[in-house]
């Protein structure tokens, strides 16, 4: 999946993150995203999934890496751990699409869509945000879209920082569940 020096960076960042270093954690996720994107894109092409699903998949994998970060055994290399998480999510996509015949228009669209900005997820996360409880949605929007800090969000919503943290964490867990169930409905 990657060179070993890259893996060493990832491992170092994750170790720092596990002691609470947010900067290192951001570096890790930003550095992982393009690698996940390459794998997701090739998998979507092979399955004839629309290009728009690539970024959904990248976001789902990053969310899962986040929620399962405690399962990395620090005495073992981090690359295979990331790959195993990505594989689990990619298999999900395969399962979602198994019974779907892809219309030829979609294939054409996906070929044409290659130059679209890859950073924007088209569908899932924004649809899924709609399923969150109002307060969860408010906090997710405040932090992700407006870039507010936990403290600013807490002040504005007249909550304690602890309550904002708990709500954010529940919202992320709920998002992961919605991802999975939306996959089954497809």
């Amino acid at each position: 999946m990657t060179t070993s020096s890259q893996e060493n960076d990832w491992a170092a960042w994750m170790r720092a993150a596990m002691t609470g270093d947010a900067g290192a954690y951001r570096q890790l996720l930003v550095s992982l995203a393009p690698h996940v994107r390459v794998v997701a894109r090739s998998r979507c092409r092979r399955l004839g999934a629309p290009e728009g699903e690539v970024e959904d998949l990248v976001q789902e994998v990053l969310l899962t890496i986040h929620l399962k970060r405690g399962t990395w055994d620090q005495s073992r290399p981090i690359g295979p751990w990331v790959a195993a998480i990505a594989r689990n999510k990619l298999i999900d996509v395969l399962r979602r699409r198994r019974h779907i015949t892809v219309p030829i228009e979609d294939l054409v669209n996906s070929l044409q869509a290659e130059d679209l900005t890859p950073e924007l997820s088209t569908r899932d996360i924004d649809t899924l945000l709609g399923h969150l409880k109002p307060q969860q949605r408010e906090i997710v929007r405040s932090i992700s879209l407006n870039g507010s800090s936990i403290r600013e969000t807490a002040d504005r919503l007249q909550m304690t920082e602890g309550a904002v943290r708990v709500t954010l964490h529940r919202a992320l867990k709920a998002l992961a569940v919605f991802y999975r169930s939306s996959g089954r409905e497809d």
Partner: protein
Amino acid sequence: MKTDDLIELLVKDLAPWRFRSILAGAVAGGIIIAAILFFVGIGFRPDISEAVKSNRFLFKFVVTVSLAVTAIWVTLSVGRPGGSLAHRGLALAIAPALLVCAAVVELLVLPESQWMPRLVGHNARFCLTLIPLLSIGPLACLLAALREGAPSSPGLAGAVAGLGASGIAATFYAANCTDDSALFVITWYPIATLIVTTAGYLIGRKLLRW
């Protein structure tokens, strides 16, 4: 939502936790629940002060404790992404191997006329019901911990958790049961363990997907 926005969200949710600590907590919780059930429900056998002098009685715990320890150790491995039996699975052979050795010794030292009575024993029915009953708490705790984990094979992880829960339950049950012959243990304990392991497999397959 842009991926960078999502990353910002994830960074804000950063709090350290370890799967190992969660599993350790689950083991402790499971042991406490099983212990409460044991002391409230069945307790030690009446002749416990005599029994502890008997090697046959004590060896039961060598087997059940090694089953619990090895299975929980393997659970830690199969509960992680990419984990499989290839890494630590061989450890699961320790408890059965010990039990087989003890049964062979038992066959050698006992006269043939004693084999069947010892094997059938008096408590088979209790063994088959009490071990699964005592393992419900530990199994629930281990499965809850595995939900925080990320097993690549949910069914396998649930089954190994079932083995671990059986080990804990059998350790308590063995302190109540008066059948100490390895011939009894090798006949009935594995059936009880199989029940719990199958339950773990079936629940795990449903519950441990992520």
